[in-house]
Symmetry: C2
Subunit: 857 residues, 2 copies
């Protein structure tokens, strides 16, 4: 029967070389056959194809079927799910199938009656729960009722369990193995099609029509007189990736029992307690060998599920070894160095998203999480600290050397100082691209936003939780910026460790990728950070962030309150040298690399205070009557600031600001050229354009400033001028604009907002519900919406390059750090992506993978 | 020389049959040749082509050139602009060219010295001003200085004028006619290329490279011994279009002098004063004949400029007679009835925009306008009234029978009651699609928004004007919603008169057009209005407007403040019958026609009050603590409401509201079907979709409600379900959505906002500047942006109909009342446009014209 189908349609015996394609029989069936390549001792088994399982209600077992025969002969089997991809899950494994009074009787001799009772009871409970859908707890209760001074009386428990089964189902517990199997198969097929299973797997990427394969294997019992037991083993540390035994073994157990019980033994010799290595050294050695064999088969570190049968090791299943992001890197680097896999293989084996973990502290995977609320994970990493409710308190905490979590309904530019001081940020409002989220990512600060179930009462300095309890200032909490959880207390954190493996691995990515990866940086400090992360340039300098420093903010406000052109010019004259200083520093740091500087973007009211106290303070500082301050604030207020007088509209209506900024950039270039031999590559970017005429107007003014500075300073200026494409119209009219500019950089945050008609700051209200209900497959602010926004990028690329084939195209914004979006940009022929420095390693790896995928096509 | 070029390049003599294409020689040259068809007495003349004028600085007059000869012989000429289109303007006409001491001497005999002096003086002043660019007022002053008991001593004035000329220019006044002509030609070419002339004509639609032709004609002096004079005449009333003499004549005058002077005579016999008909009956009769001839030539009522030369009439120019919109209709209808033009010609002759005037009171064109501020004309028509600062005051004014202009910084739904009572609306903020503007257009109420130079102080109930003065409550003002002007006092208004001509004309349009024209209507009252305007259906029922009635608003707020699903349902149960009642009435009224009902669109916070007083009142009315009311308001507040939780997002997150609305619609249909034999065609429209999954979800719920109502009531339901396409993404993914729906209606207001990234409420700040500087060719909220938004409409149309060829496509929103946008929709293959009832006649005519243009291609 080697490799051939049994008579039962689409049921194939699992033997060496059997043809069990994953797409037909699922991953677990394929694994068993793969492992057989190396002659591992594997119980004999059969695989049911997805199609067979789906149509099983219409089938019958054939008359002469080895499994049926074996069941008749009293052999026991396990029935396991074999989904196409392991992460799609599937019904729980059913062990000991075939158990009945006959097999019980047969087992009494080798195992002893109590052990046979226990096995039979276990099967009744599992079958009742998984197949007949009775309540598992009712059976647990029978164990309690059977407790005596000598421990559990399983014989009593078994009898009660059979009675309970009959009472609940009105039929006696089935004694026929094939009946058990038939009902179990049907039950598993039904469970697979249940609503919750479907939702669960679709979240993990399963298609709507995902099928379920099953495998049936002869049991190796794991119990008996002598050394019997079961366990799970990998020989690599899940935390560091170093070679190290990791797993558990439990004598007299089945399946994955060892993983759940504190009485389980270690695998290798361990000072903390007994181990398999000591209990049964030969089994330990054999297991080690099998893990190494599996590693050779899969070219990956594997975790094996095994059973010890009177000292002999049987292998049941293998899957990739557990690992953190850091361990994953260490593993692939080691495998490359050992010649087991190529560098390309190594690059393809790491999910870029896992790099997030490496770059930030994480909650120890083994630590207990007490969730008290949930929001949107907006900036990765975990942080523990005392709750503070204001930016000032965060600054004070830092001064005292105390870790603080800044808790705000939402953050504003006034909070930036406090955000620098805090260890993490939690907000009640806002989405993945709210102010808090964007700043936090820039700072590499863990952040949870839009925790809308909590009620932050800033005034009374308390947080009302959904359960009615409260948190007050000083309470210690932990946020997990990856999962969006707010946790009670201080679970253990694991610090990031960027070792040599990380750098080695990232170098391979850099050698492979063709797409540029730049960092977003708003200050010289950010530029240094970006450089430390090995970027190819700076893709976005948001010049407005330079004005939030208190002294500069005052001058900026003087500009806004200036009554006459002369007063306005005075303020600009103060701001210009400050900007120039920034640019000198940033451009000098980024020698030989491009720096893309975006001219002022936000509406002017963002520079004005929002609270009454701050307005009073401002009036005093400016020596202006409150009425005037309020009038100006009211005058600048907007219904929809996102769609208001910002970006190039500001540049056209208040041209002095862009002129000042252009001068600052050009004078900075001159200063560097005159005093050093550093080569600088400034790029000037105009934000929020929607018509080419806007670009022409601003370009004319910038060119005029360039000419003026050139002749004043006697230095030749070389710079690129381009636009940030953030409106659908700019994308649609790319062919108009391309002729006027050297480059376009897609601001996909805003472009997404406008394409969907969706404010990133207000989307938090419904985005979770939308994604949960699959109305949007993903949060489009997290992963580029290829169908809508991506369509605009493609249109813009095609139309722009049709006019100017060499048009430089980039993407700046958080999508630049999302692997799928990076792949899209690579495939669309962009020159680079740019994101916050902390996400650039993700982009670099994603770019390398995109290149490998493309060249393998 | 008949029709052939003179030796001077591109200068052609104006004789019968001469080849003077408008594109080469301009409109006035063509007019002269056209008029010659009917042997009118026209002074001989020549035309310079645009090209000649542009390059004149490089040319010289040829040696033997009839004009030069005539100048040498002492003949006088007029030099007039002949632009390609008359509305592009051009330099002022220069009369009496060739005047010098010799001609002066020759004229002394026939005219008398004083008249010759006056003519010469006039020429010196005109030449000095128009050619040498001296200050006209300096010459006016010479007249004052020459005033004596016997009147003006022109001899003295002439001498002083020649001296002044020489003093200012350092050269003597040129005595050589060809020199005068050469300099005048150059000066006119220069003036044409001046900045202000270019801006002026580009506003009127001239291309950047628009050229200027010139014509030079022999003077008929208009002065002399006997009956001499000049004037302007048309024989149709500019107000009503009826046959009536209209114009002025002034003895002893030239050019258009008669139009400027109160001493001018009437044309026909008139009780108010002397007339040409009495002074010189033969000239009057001749003139009447010439006007009739011109009418036959042009197939239009014409206005002639004429000169009487010793009792003989000479014709100088002809242009379409002045007319209001109402007169224009009367004229074309009369011409059709007289068989002079076809109905198609009549339809093409009326600019749809002019219908605006017909439908609203207008300021009498002859009334004096004292402008005190300028804003954006947001809803046409003129209104006079006393200033009121609150909705309540407007209601009180109405109760007193006083006309009121409601003056608000901006309006909110709370003001709607007051807007109903007011005669006109003026706001300081907001753009063409602000709340005030949209409501005003729906109500057919004149409205000026975004008058940002004024400062409305609601608290102190006063308006601060740019000049420092103030208006207070009760001051009488007038607003012109077409021009955007705020005028002082009460200029005379002309009431609209929709006579039989209007209906006749609109019927022709309806017989011609293929594009449907629907009206937007939010209440049964609106539906009646739309019907009165002869719509093909209702294209947009904004159901939220039904909730602003005070009683309903209270229930709506109860819904918003409901703590439990049960409370929420209680509120919905109250709202449902109210909505059902509306729908019964609206659907019954629109029998046999479609009614497109949009499910709730605005974010819920729009139903909550904004001022503190109103919040207090609400808390009292709801019997809720202020803190709770404020908390809910804060909770619902959004950063960018336009991009927030509204439309289908609300429908998905609070499904009960749409379910209630769907039930109200379906129960209304059942009620009508059970009690009448009226056929109703309801269309249910889902707003603000961006993904097909949203549509599927809502459709499933609506279909379920339909099934439920169907079986409850035993009535078969027939309805269409569709979406409002307002996001760029919905347009781009039209092929996804088309499969789910029966129709799509483009909400181009919001689509424009999102395509440009431009809030209509905030655009007022910079839109005027943008349009003035031609950054945007038009305000895209007024006229559809064909290049950007139109591109999305085309993409959506193509992709949607590729999946469902019969997909019904419409446009709802104010663009539906803009002629260019209507043409776009017609050409794109839409089924209908829909706009506020007052604008539907414009749409109907524009649709007819689009059809005629298409079929003439």
């Amino acid at each position: 029967m080697d490799g051939t189908h049994s008579t039962f349609p689409d049921c194939v015996q699992l033997v060496r070389g059997a043809d069990v394609p994953v797409a037909v029989y699922g991953a677990r069936a394929a694994t068993v056959v793969n492992l057989m390549q190396s002659d591992m001792p594997i119980p004999q088994g059969w695989a049911f194809s997805c199609d067979t399982v789906a149509k099983f209600h219409r089938s019958e077992f054939p008359k002469e079927w080895p499994v049926a025969d074996a069941l008749q002969k009293g052999r026991l089997f396990s029935l396991r799910a074999s989904p196409i991809e392991r992460e799609w899950g599937g019904p729980e494994t059913l062990l000991n199938l075939g158990m009945n009074w006959d097999t019980h009787k047969a087992l009494c001799e080798p195992l002893g009656k109590s052990a046979a009772d226990a096995l039979y009871f276990r099967f009744v409970q599992d079958y009742a729960t998984q197949v007949a859908r009775l309540d598992s707890e009712d059976f647990d209760a029978l164990i309690d009722k059977s407790m005596s001074a000598n421990g559990v009386d399983y014989g009593h428990a078994l009898e009660m369990s059979l009675a309970l089964f009959e009472q609940e189902t009105d039929v006696a517990f089935p004694q026929d193995g094939t009946t058990q199997l038939r009902k179990a198969l049907r039950s598993m097929a039904t469970a697979w099609n249940g609503a919750s299973a479907r939702i669960l797997r679709s979240v993990r990427g399963a298609p709507v029509d995902a099928g379920l394969g099953l495998i049936i294997q002869e049991m190796v019992l794991g119990v008996g007189q002598g050394e019997f037991g079961s366990g799970v083993a990998q020989f690599t540390s899940p935390v560091t990736g170093e070679e190290d035994a990791f797993g558990r073994y439990l004598s007299q157990s089945q399946g994955r029992d060892a993983m759940d019980q504190s009485s389980a033994q270690f695998l290798a010799r361990d000072p903390r307690g007994p181990s398999l290595e000591e209990i049964c050294p030969s089994a330990f050695d054999a297991l080690k060998g099998f893990v190494a064999q599996a590693r050779d088969v899969y070219r990956d570190e594997m975790q094996l599920e095994f059973t010890v049968d009177n000292g002999a090791v049987w292998i049941l299943d293998a899957e990739p070894a557990d690992r953190t992001g850091r361990a994953a890197i260490a593993i692939v680097v080691r495998m490359v160095e050992q010649g087991l896999i190529s560098r390309q293989d190594a690059l393809m084996k790491i999910d870029p998203r896992n790099l997030n973990e490496i770059l930030h502290p994480q909650i120890d995977p083994r630590a207990k999480r007490v969730e008290i609320a949930e929001g949107i994970g907006a900036s990765p990493g975990a942080a523990t600290g005392k709750i503070v409710f204001s930016a000032n308190s965060a600054v004070a905490s830092e001064a005292r050397g105390e870790a603080a979590i800044l808790v705000r309904v939402e953050t504003t530019p006034d909070d930036i100082r406090g955000m620098h001081s805090a260890n993490g940020i939690l907000t009640e409002r806002g989405g993945i691209n709210s102010h808090a989220a964007v700043v936090a990512r820039t700072l590499g600060l863990p952040c949870v936003v839009g925790a809308k179930d909590i009620d932050i009462d800033q005034k009374n300095r308390l947080v009302r939780l959904p359960d009615g309890s409260q948190l007050v200032a000083g309470d210690v909490v932990t946020i997990d910026g990856a999962t969006g959880q707010l946790l009670s207390g201080a679970p253990k954190l694991v610090e990031p460790e960027l070792g040599g493996d990380f750098h080695k691995f990232m170098n391979w990515a850099d050698e492979t990728r063709t797409l540029g990866v730049r960092g977003n940086a708003d200050t010289p400090q950010d530029v240094r950070l970006a450089q430390a992360f090995g970027v190819d340039g700076i893709g976005l300098v948001r010049t407005e962030h330079m004005f939030f420093d208190p002294h500069r903010l005052t001058v900026m406000r003087e500009l806004i309150f200036a009554d006459s052109p002369a007063d306005r010019q005075d303020a600009l004259n103060l701001l210009m040298p400050m900007q120039r200083g920034d640019f000198v520093e940033m451009l000098s740091l980024m020698k030989n690399q491009s720096v893309c500087i975006r001219l002022l973007d936000p509406p002017l009211h963002e520079f004005l205070p929002s609270s009454r106290d701050q307005v009073v303070a401002l009036a005093e500082a400016m020596n202006l009557p409150m009425s005037k301050v309020n009038a100006r604030i009211e005058e600048l207020a907007e219904f929809n600031p996102m769609l208001g007088t910002r970006g190039v509209r500001l540049g056209i209506t208040v041209p002095e600001i862009y002129e000042m900024q252009a001068r600052a950039i050009f004078e900075a270039v001159c200063e560097i050229k005159k005093s050093t031999d550093i080569l600088v590559f400034p790029e000037v970017m105009i934000p929020l354009v929607s018509a080419n005429r806007e670009v022409e107007l601003v370009k004319a003014r910038i060119d005029a400033i360039a000419s003026a500075v050139q002749s004043e300073q006697g230095v030749e200026l070389d710079f690129k001028l381009g636009v940030m494409v953030e409106t659908p119209r700019a994308a649609l009219r790319s062919h108009d604009i391309a002729g006027t500019v050297d480059f376009m950089s897609f601001g996909t945050n805003d472009l997404t907002q406008m394409t969907y008609g969706l404010s990133r700051d207000d989307a938090g209200r419904f985005m979770r519900e939308y994604v949960r209900n699959e109305i949007f497959p993903e949060d489009p602010f997290m992963t580029l919406d290829v169908d809508g926004v991506g369509e605009l990028l493609k249109i813009a690329t095609e139309r722009g390059r049709s006019v100017k084939p060499g048009l430089q195209l980039g993407l700046c914004g958080e999508h630049g750090g999302d692997p799928d979006s990076v792949k899209f940009c690579h495939d669309a022929g962009f020159d680079y992506v740019s994101c916050s420095p902390f996400r650039t390693p993700i982009a670099r790896l994603a770019a390398a993978q995109a290149e490998l995928e493309k060249s393998s096509q």
